[in-house]
Subunit: 295 residues, 2 copies
């Protein structure tokens, strides 16, 4: 399962296909009991998506000289784990008691399809399979990095702050950055750092990649906020305007849409400046993609 | 934090106190953000309970000659992790879309106290802190053992089977055993096996302890079913008769209460027979306690 891409666009396509094949391989099969639970897990995890986190992990691993030929490599376990964790977080975020969303990636959300109890359990199950896969890398550092990214200092902390900021009349840019860094940024940053850890990168490069991840993680979420205002519902596969409807703390609401756009671009430029030999580097291509994406 | 107990009863008390102090130490503080989430996590994890899983882990570790003096030992991280995972499972099980319970350990359930969204997130957060702690043991085998115990072959699989069996008019003993082994038995078995792994036990002893765990794990749940019929609500801290009300698949419903009692005793006797030098052995005491407990 070695990628043959010679340009960034092809790399994104091949990275997505590789991720899909890894998920197919490492998700428990519907033929095994409990089949209803496995079906719900697969429904959400295999529903498409950009697979940005696993692709970032792989490209950081490549950049740090990790071995990419062979089956069941540690980086493969990590890639599947990162996407499963992302899927788990979306399932729980969409629940009626949370954001109460009906549509995700163009299809009914997990609880609309399978009921609330099964959605809670499918999220929990993806969460635990992800940790099992990360442990299969053999690196407790990678396990701890994942736990940091999705714990109360990371994704869950961001989710709580997001819920608590909902409906506030005044939105402060610093507060939005603080929420975004944790809710989305931490897992994106960890995806990159785990790639570096598994490739055995030195501390200097790992630290530079951490900074790179922080910058594009924040840029990613700012672009997400912008797309919720200006995006095309068909292309996005989800309902636009929901942030505004739910009175979410977003970056455009805090600083205006034009400043939000220039800020995202600034972050991406700064991130790219951290990469050595940026020509033909897939991390650079992905950073640019994050700034220009339409879904 | 070395236990000084010279008898089983004292061991259970000291083991519970040690577990409480470890939870206090390793749970994120309410003084740190997100304080509302940390408060909900602590509310449920520190609400008391027998702390059976950590105590089993410690006693298996002792039995296998693990080092018990010192602070922040791998076994301490594992003990806290096991109890946090147990607390997470109770929070999600109690949710309105699951068992819809209002009372747990004599106090309102997490969602009654903090709302549904916070309860989902508090369960998720305990789940992830548990994996971080298990990774701090330095043993990826321990991480994988935990993941097995609470995954779709273990606790979550049992929970799904339990939900799907609800309301069935015919209850089959084999099916109940199958549910119990996964829903409760797997984590109890893993608690013991992780103690053996962290103490560096040989394969023969680890296998014997796995069998021991399977037997007392099943006995524990059969006694739980019996207590739901015959127990004292005040002593239990939860509402009795809820299994019958919810038409749960229980062992007494399948085979009758007397057969259930003798079966639990048989399992405990068989478990004890697996322990070398059973005199003054804490595992033996705990096995007897499982058979005789009233809460």
């Amino acid at each position: 399962m070695q990628l043959t891409a010679i340009n960034g666009k092809q790399y994104l396509v091949e990275g997505r296909e590789l991720t899909d094949s890894l998920l197919e391989k490492y998700l428990p099969p519907v033929s095994a009991e409990p089949s209803s639970l496995h079906e719900a897990m697969r429904y959400s995890a295999l529903a498409g998506g950009k697979r940005l986190r696993p692709i970032l992990c792989l490209s950081a691993y490549d950049y740090c000289g990790g071995k990419t030929s062979g089956e069941d490599l540690p980086v493969h376990f990590a890639m599947a784990a990162l996407e499963m964790v992302h899927a788990y977080s979306l399932i729980h975020d969409d629940l009626p008691c949370m954001d109460d969303d009906d549509l995700r990636r163009g299809i009914p959300t997990c609880h609309k399809q399978f009921g609330e109890a099964m959605a809670v359990l499918a999220g929990d199950a993806l969460h635990v399979v992800a940790f099992d896969l990360m442990a299969r890398t053999g690196s407790v550092s990678a396990v701890r990095e994942l736990a940091w990214a999705i714990g109360t200092d990371g994704m869950l902390g961001g989710q709580v702050a997001d819920l608590e900021a909902e409906g506030k009349s005044e939105v402060d840019a610093d507060e939005v950055v603080h929420i975004h860094r944790r809710k989305t940024g931490a897992l994106i940053t960890a995806s990159i750092k785990i790639g570096a850890i598994l490739a055995g990168a030195d501390q200097q490069r790992t630290d530079a990649l951490f900074d790179f991840g922080q910058k594009i993680g924040l840029a990613f979420q700012i672009v997400d906020d912008i797309l919720d205002v200006e995006g095309d519902q068909e292309v996005l596969g989800k309902i636009v305007g929901s942030d505004s409807k739910n009175q979410k703390a977003t970056y455009p609401a805090a600083v205006g849409i034009e400043t939000a756009k220039s800020e995202a671009q600034r972050l991406i430029d700064e991130a790219i400046a951290l990469i050595e030999e940026p020509e033909s580097n897939m991390l650079v291509y992905i950073a640019r993609f994050v700034g220009q994406r339409e879904s």
